[in-house]
Symmetry: C2
Subunit: 340 residues, 2 copies
């Protein structure tokens, strides 16, 4: 590995023709072997010769060339999220990648930071994915779905709070989360309920529908619901806790377990008894909620499994002419512990 | 949007030739306009006509075709990590994407779940990225770097605990983190120090060098260091806490703040006084550490900023013949709070 920069600059990128020459076979044979084409019978010694020649020359197939020949790729594109996600999402995503790879797809996450709506769809379409799984942040529109399908995508799947025309929609109705939390608090006798609205960008796509669900659940119960903007830092939590008595609240749904931990600490520092004076409930059912004292009540969210989603992607790709269907795949239930 | 499946199946993917025909220009002009080629002067009305025709037909350029013409892409490939990462990493990653996009690169994260070492490098090379930024998990080897460079990558950058021949290395020496933690504990008079080793897969790439750093820092101080395997669940923490007295430890470096929170709770449930009987220090300087009582001491880690890394990628791409350089970019320092 002691080559000089000059030597490196002079080396050129090896091609499949170089491999064919070295192995003494045709370029087509090289392509069949290295792309694992199952439909063509090639002897094991020939396969070995091709692989060894490729290895010696440092040749790897060009995915772009292959996709141009095939007219599409086996690429499933997942727009990378800009929202920080917890361990639950990470597990889901890992499982999804794993399951798609087993089905012979390549999973690519595309950073769409700074792109919105149809611009994002256009950027995704340039990569000619066979399927796009949108995690619902970038505002996929029916027009965006159309751009993707016209560029050759066989399936567009949206995991989002709302339906998008033309896409298979896994509707994750975030309103259910807020609804569950408030119903739990009302059942435990609370009547003046604050709902934490995180100030962090990106989270409004979750916070707004959760708040709507909270309002809907409180309707006709005699309970009132009040939005409480909160940044994820100690100062913001301390400021909110300092004016807590003036708010006249007896409960708070704190968006998720992280915000609940932050607010609970600030309330306890103000000597507000939990749950005596104020009940606190989070969401996500994280381990940390069980480590708090009092133990944190939470909303447990059942997400679609990565494996199930992978099967749905594959099904949608293999039957692109089927009318897109909606799937209700999120369940939510309150988990009662000590803080409510 | 009420087309029948049949109608959809009959539509074909529009090409740049279709756009050229509709706009009354050459295919080359379509390519210049839609790929924003700055070196060719085209009038604004013509540009508008091309864009409108593309919009009407639903045409977007094909990144693969463009990259075949150019011989390489503007794609910077980041292998997607299989390790759950916290908010600090997420911020870094977001910033990196943003900065690279401003420099006109496209950032693609590639899921290399289930691939290892040179197999991963080969899979990355198929996408013909202009640069690869490896986050050090998949065991990039000098041979892997060679595969990537021979396939046309102009720069391979590795953020990893150890150097890789042929790559620009941003050495994040994890040993420093463990070293900082143990030096802090020794300075505070502790002599029998446990080091948490997470059982979760993927974390061993961090845990092992951190442990080595801990051992090195304890050498010649009279302190002993003992590895403590721990899974991230309450049962594992309770089992460790139950046999705590038998271990004869007066301090623990708990890998990071999450594991520290888990273990601290279990120790407190066993009525072990912190820091009186056992000092606890984490790492990562998360907000949650400040919310615990006692407040958690931690190791603050200075990571390279996304912006700085983006500039380094761009520099490396523009001067591919320069000899790869190493950059020491991680700093670590202990933050003393109440738990030590």
């Amino acid at each position: 590995m002691s080559q000089t920069p000059k030597q490196f600059a002079e080396r050129s990128v090896p091609t499949s023709a170089d491999v064919a020459r070295l192995a003494g076979v045709s370029r087509a044979t090289v392509s069949y072997v290295l792309n694992n084409t199952a439909s063509v019978r090639i002897s094991e010694p020939t396969r070995r010769r091709v692989r060894e020649a490729a290895e010696e020359l440092g040749y790897v197939p060009h995915a772009a060339a292959r996709s141009l020949r095939a007219g599409h790729t086996r690429m499933v594109l997942l727009p990378a999220t800009s929202v920080p996600h917890g361990p639950q999402f990470h597990r889901f995503f890992h499982e999804l990648q794993w399951a798609l790879r087993r089905l012979d797809y390549t999973v690519v996450q595309y950073g769409s930071v700074g792109l919105d709506g149809d611009d994002a769809a256009r950027a995704w379409a340039e990569l000619r994915p066979v399927a796009v799984v949108s995690l619902g942040e970038v505002g996929l529109t029916p027009h965006g779905v159309d751009i993707l399908k016209r560029s050759g995508a066989k399936a567009v799947i949206s995991l989002a709070p709302r339906r998008v025309e033309g896409a298979h929609c896994l509707v994750m109705d975030q309103r259910e989360v807020g609804g569950c939390a408030v119903t739990h608090l009302v059942q435990r006798g609370r009547r003046a309920i604050g709902v934490v609205m995180p100030r962090e960008p990106g989270l409004e796509h979750f916070a707004q529908p959760r708040y709507e669900g909270a309002v809907r659940a409180a309707a006709d119960t005699g309970a009132r619901v009040e939005p409480l903007p909160l940044a994820y830092d100690e100062e913001s939590a301390a400021a909110l806790a300092a004016r807590w008595h003036g708010l006249g609240l007896d409960a708070v749904y704190a968006f998720n377990d992280d915000y609940a931990m932050l607010l609970m600490r600030a309330l306890q520092d103000e000597r507000i008894d939990i749950p005596g004076q104020t009940a606190v409930i989070g969401a996500d059912d994280l381990l940390l909620g069980r480590l708090l004292r009092p133990r944190l009540s939470t909303v447990h969210i059942d997400m679609v499994t990565g494996r199930l989603l992978a099967e749905l992607v594959d099904q949608a790709v293999r039957t692109p002419d089927d009318r897109p269907r909606d799937h209700e795949l999120m369940g939510a239930r309150a988990v009662h512990r000590e803080s409510t």
